[in-house]
C-alpha cells in the first residue's frame, strides 16, 4: 500500500458552457514532487489548477489533502484547505492597495489570526527568502513584474502551504525577468516543496521536474519523467521542440 499523496485528485470532471473542459482527470502529488503541466492553449491546465484549489468546483470527482477528502460545502474546511494549498497566478494578483510587506502579511492576520507582531516577523522572513527584503515598503504599482511575482510567492509561502500550484508564473513577464522567478521556484523545489506548475518553460522543467503531464482537450494524454517523454514520437517531445524553436532557446 502506498502512502496518501499530499494532494490527490480523482476523476475530476468539469463542464463549462456545455463543453467538457476537464474529462475525468486524476493525479497525485507526493511529498517533494515537482510536476509540470504542459500542453496547447485551451487544453484545461488553468481550469485543472483552479479545480485542485477548489476555486472552481468540479461537477464530479474528489480532491483530497494528505488522504483526507475535502468537502467544499463546508466553509471552514474549504478555507483551511485553501490555506494549505498555495496558488500562484500568471498575472500575480497582488493586492494593489497594500505594500509588498502588507501583501505578504495580510492573510496571516486576517485569515490565520496571528498577532501583528508574529505576522510581521513571518512576512519579513518570506520577503527575505525571495530576495525582496529591501522592497517591502513598495506598492505593486512600483514593482517590476518579476518582483511582483516573487511577492506573490512570498505571500503564498507565508501561509505554510503543503503544496503549491503555479499557473504559468512567468508567462506575463518580460524575458529578462523570467530568470529571477524561475530561480525562486528552483530554490523552493530543492527545499522540498511539493509543486504542480503549468508552464511553457520546458527547458527549465526538463531539468527539474519529476514528471511531465501533457494535457489536451481536458485530459492528461501523456505522463512520465522528462527522460521518458522527451524522446522522438511523443506529443510532449513534439510540443516542447516547437516551443523551444519559437523561443530560440536550446532544448535543455
Amino acid at each position: 500500500m502506498t502512502d496518501s499523496p499530499i494532494l490527490g485528485a480523482a476523476n475530476i470532471t468539469k463542464r463549462l458552457g456545455g463543453k467538457t473542459i476537464l474529462d475525468n482527470v486524476s493525479l497525485r502529488l507526493d511529498k517533494g514532487d515537482l510536476k509540470v503541466l504542459i500542453g496547447p492553449s485551451g487544453g484545461g491546465k488553468s481550469t485543472l489548477l483552479q479545480c485542485l484549489n477548489l476555486l472552481i468546483l468540479p461537477e464530479k470527482g474528489q480532491i483530497s489533502l494528505e488522504g483526507r477528502d475535502i468537502h467544499p460545502r463546508n466553509k471552514r474546511e474549504l478555507s483551511s484547505f485553501r490555506q494549505q494549498v498555495g496558488m500562484i497566478f500568471q498575472d500575480f494578483n497582488l493586492f494593489d492597495h497594500l505594500s509588498a510587506f502588507e501583501n505578504v502579511r495580510i492573510a496571516l492576520i486576517k485569515v490565520k489570526k496571528l498577532s501583528r507582531r508574529a505576522a510581521s516577523e513571518r512576512a519579513e522572513q518570506e520577503l527575505a527568502r525571495v530576495g525582496l527584503s529591501d522592497k517591502g515598503g513598495l506598492y505593486p504599482a512600483q514593482l517590476s513584474g518579476g518582483q511582483k511575482q516573487r511577492v506573490a510567492v512570498a505571500r503564498a509561502l507565508a501561509m505554510d502551504p503543503k503544496v503549491m500550484l503555479l499557473d504559468e508564473p512567468t508567462s506575463a513577464l518580460d524575458p529578462e525577468l523570467i530568470g529571477e522567478v524561475l530561480a525562486v521556484i528552483k530554490d523552493l523545489s530543492l527545499a522540498g516543496m511539493t509543486m504542480l506548475m503549468a508552464t511553457h518553460q520546458v527547458g527549465f522543467s526538463a531539468q527539474l521536474a519529476d514528471e511531465f503531464m501533457f494535457m489536451d482537450q481536458g485530459r492528461i494524454v501523456e505522463q512520465g519523467s522528462p527522460k521518458e517523454l522527451l524522446v522522438p514520437g511523443t506529443r510532449t517531445q513534439a510540443f516542447c521542440s516547437k516551443i523551444t524553436e519559437l523561443a530560440g532557446e536550446v532544448p535543455g
Binding site: R82, D96, H97, R155
Partner: protein, 226 residues
C-alpha cells in the same frame, strides 16, 4: 442695497444661526448617505439576485424623482402611515437617502474597477467572501470612488437649502425670513450665496485632504494629461 449696520448685524446673526442648523443637517446626512452608498453599492455588485433588485429599485426611485417630492413624502406623507418625523429628521433622512443612491453609483463603479484576480487570490489564501470584500476590495473601491463621492457631498451642501421647504430654519430658511421682513432680497441672498460658497470651498479643501491622505502609489489623485 441697504448697508445699514443694524440691518447687517441682524442679517449676520440670522444667517449664523441658519448656518449652524444647516451644518446639523449636512454632516449627519452626508455620513448617512455614504454609509447607505457603501452598503447599497456592495449589494448591487455582490449581493444575491433578489436583494440586488431591491437595491437597483431604490437607486432608480431616488435618482428618478425630484428631491423636493421626496422631502415632502418624508415629512408630510409618512404621518399618514403613522410615522412622524421631526423637520430636521425628515431632512436628514431625505438628503441621506437621496445622496446614498448617488454614492452607491460611485461605489459600484469603484468595485467593478477592481480586477477579479484579486478576489480569486484572496479566496485562494482562505479569505471568506465577506472578509475579501471588507479587507481587499472595498479599500480599493473607496479610493477609486472618492472623487465622485466628494462631488456628491458638494451637491448635498447645496441641495440642503431645500430643508426650509419642510420648515427647517436652515441657512436658506433664515435668509427667506430676513428677506421677507426687510424686502432686501438682493443683499440677503448675495450674502447667503457667499455663505454657501465658503461652505463648499471648505468642504472641497477637506475632501482634497482626505483624498491626499488615502492616496497610495497606483491610487493617486487623477490629474489631467500633463
Amino acid at each position: 442695497m441697504n448697508l445699514d449696520p443694524e440691518f447687517l448685524r441682524e442679517l449676520f446673526s440670522a444667517l449664523n444661526k441658519g448656518l449652524f442648523v444647516s451644518l446639523q443637517l449636512i454632516i449627519p446626512s452626508a455620513l448617512l448617505g455614504i454609509a447607505i452608498g457603501i452598503v447599497v453599492g456592495i449589494v448591487r455588485v455582490y449581493g444575491p439576485k433578489p436583494l440586488r433588485t431591491v437595491a437597483d429599485g431604490y437607486v432608480a426611485l431616488f435618482r428618478g424623482t425630484p428631491l423636493v417630492a421626496q422631502l415632502f413624502m418624508w415629512y408630510y406623507g409618512l404621518p399618514n402611515l403613522g410615522i412622524m418625523l421631526s423637520a430636521s429628521a425628515a431632512a436628514i433622512v431625505g438628503f441621506g437617502m437621496c445622496s446614498g443612491a448617488y454614492h452607491s453609483e460611485y461605489i459600484r463603479g469603484g468595485l467593478l474597477s477592481i480586477k477579479r484576480g484579486q478576489l480569486t487570490a484572496a479566496q485562494a489564501l482562505g479569505f471568506s467572501p465577506v472578509a475579501t470584500i471588507a479587507t481587499i476590495i472595498l479599500p480599493q473601491a473607496i479610493r477609486r470612488a472618492l472623487p465622485g463621492c466628494g462631488n456628491e457631498i458638494i451637491y448635498l451642501i447645496k441641495y440642503s437649502s431645500l430643508a426650509h421647504l419642510v420648515t427647517c430654519l436652515d441657512l436658506t430658511g433664515e435668509a427667506y425670513g430676513m428677506a421677507a421682513r426687510t424686502y432686501e432680497f438682493t443683499a440677503v441672498f448675495l450674502v447667503t450665496g457667499a455663505y454657501y460658497l465658503i461652505l463648499v470651498s471648505l468642504a472641497t479643501i477637506l475632501l482634497a485632504r482626505v483624498e491626499q491622505s488615502l492616496s497610495l502609489p497606483g491610487f493617486e489623485r487623477k490629474r489631467g494629461p500633463q
